[in-house]
Symmetry: C2
Subunit: 348 residues, 2 copies
């Protein structure tokens, strides 16, 4: 089967036959096939068994007809070889056993050798490249800030107070941690590309909690390292965050061929803030997948209309698919995106 | 003692001798005086005993030297006479016993008569006007969307999925609830003004979860009713939200003499989005109150510098004071703001 080129071409801002579409967290608990596997294995067990990770990655590709597969993994996997411990407490999200709070904590972080310590991820990628006949595979990692926030807070957070307090009161500790993470995450992402990932996404999911000033001082240089390391491997790089309207020009400066937009900014306004020399990905509110079909259609078409007239749009949500999302609605969005593009081409 | 006019003048964009400063949640657990009272009474007990509410309101005025007092109360108090039940579960925030999910639920909401059902709030205001020698008193309510989100979710939320699902799938229920809340909240705010509040703030704390399109369709008309009802009483009205960069022009259209800005948007950029015919309030990240003094000073001065050259800036945080905030740092910020303004006046 010929390679589905839509996604990769859109990343490079080349014309496409139809707008490519995939979804963050397209594999997961909303899918019955996934729940069947999760009934037998924990999240970490699936990640660490390459055949299982590959199978789960393929489920939405088969079920939805998306234009790209994204490796099933978790942004916090590198925390395990760093020696910090990672569990997923029932209903509470990730818990890091030994949060980092001091310079000694940073110095105690173990070196991470991607192939040796996270080889199961690369093995899943190799399996997937054999099985994904023609659909490109996206690898990914968390951006240094988002990973650091979990490592400092010890888990999820609303206020990111421990993270910010460290930035302001112990900047040398924060910078040392970010420096360390930027090396580990760069190596990890490069290893994924060398194992066969045809594009990568860097998830800075929580960076929108920062002011532009803090982003520039504390985050930009480290994200830049990771994004540039991936770029040097000659695959398209997607740079994603939420709540980032005021950070977009700085995120562009940090790097990425494609910048993710969330639903808080109309797609054309966000694109204007970035400039036409960048591709964009987004930006349906994941909650809209719970709406009736006519409402979904209105919103999907609105986004596609805002992207018209220039190449370089990848349709996606503004954040990951939510639990309990109706699978049929996800499938319908894929079809709507593809059909709209074909129809609009017929319009002279 | 003469009335401290700084705050009220700045709301009206009139020149002031020094930038006025107050803090959202300036009374609360970070203050030892407050914790002494909280050891004996629950949050709701304090709200419902006007002498206690007044005492707690006065604590930060005495301790910090702020230019305005804000009534100690909770945005969810109107939920009690609506018949929905309200508790504050330990460490979990507010819990609403009977969330609203259907049109029948909305129709079952009891009528609320502010003076009869929430008279303890107005009584606290009357006590405070007798005791606040010269410091203006701010009354407040939640905006319809933010109050509705608690009522629909049954408490706090990260994703606001039930709220959005109702907007999209049962808009008639959502609109009916918002209509009802806009009446109740307008009456409540007007009652506060008639009891003596010299300015009011409408808290739309969580509205930043919405796209501009959803804000315009589902929120703007109802916020507008509340803001206009207050405006008609001839006191300054502050319209506050977080995460609102892309909503600012619509929030201005909804109303308010002063619009709140959070730290995600540099103050001058946010002001430019609003236009010079609006006053602004903000916008230090509350986490910066945990920083060392030189860093706090740099950030406070940066905000003041961005506001220079035009009247109409009220210094505040971008959101409420966080628990465990060092009181001394809060006091220092008040002094920094006042001193900066005096110094900069000396510069020709």
């Amino acid at each position: 089967m010929a390679v589905n080129e839509r996604f990769l071409r859109a990343c490079r801002r080349e014309p496409v036959d139809a707008t490519p579409v995939w979804f963050m967290r397209q594999a997961g608990r909303y899918m019955p096939e996934y729940r069947t596997i999760r009934a037998k294995y924990s999240l970490l067990e699936i990640c660490r068994q390459p055949e299982l990770a590959a199978e789960v990655t393929l489920q939405p590709v088969r079920a939805l007809g998306v234009d790209a597969a994204i490796l099933f993994a978790d942004i916090l996997l590198p925390v395990i070889p760093l020696g910090l411990g990672l569990e997923f407490a029932k209903g509470e999200g990730p818990v890091i056993d030994k949060p980092v709070r001091t310079l000694e904590d940073v110095q105690m972080l173990k070196p991470v050798y991607a192939e040796a310590n996270l080889g199961y991820v690369m093995e899943a990628i190799r399996i997937l490249r054999g099985e994904l006949s023609g659909i490109p595979l996206i690898g990914f990692c968390g951006a240094p800030f988002t990973v650091a926030s979990y490592i400092i807070e010890g888990g999820s957070s609303r206020e990111f107070l421990k993270t910010k307090a460290m930035m302001y009161s112990a900047p040398e500790v924060f910078h040392a941690l970010m420096e360390k993470l930027s090396v580990v995450l760069s190596d990890y992402l490069v290893a994924q590309i060398r194992a066969g990932a045809q594009a990568v996404q860097v998830f800075d999911s929580w960076v929108g909690t920062l002011s532009p000033r803090d982003y520039e001082m504390f985050v930009l240089p480290y994200s830049q390292k990771v994004l540039e390391a991936a770029r040097a491997e000659n695959v398209p790089v997607i740079h994603f965050g939420t709540n980032t309207t005021t950070l977009l020009p700085l995120m562009k400066r940090a790097g990425g061929d494609v910048i993710g937009l969330d639903w808080r900014v109309p797609l054309d306004d966000g694109w204007a803030l970035l400039g036409q020399d960048t591709a964009v990905q987004g930006n349906l509110d994941p909650a809209l997948l719970f709406a009736p079909l006519p409402e979904i259609k209105t919103r999907v078409h609105d986004i596609l209309r805002r992207a018209e007239g220039r190449p370089g749009h990848i349709f996606n949500l503004g954040h990951g698919i939510l639990q309990n999302t109706p699978v049929d609605n996800v499938k319908v969005v894929v079809d709507m995106v593809h059909e709209y593009s074909v129809q609009s081409e017929k319009v002279p």
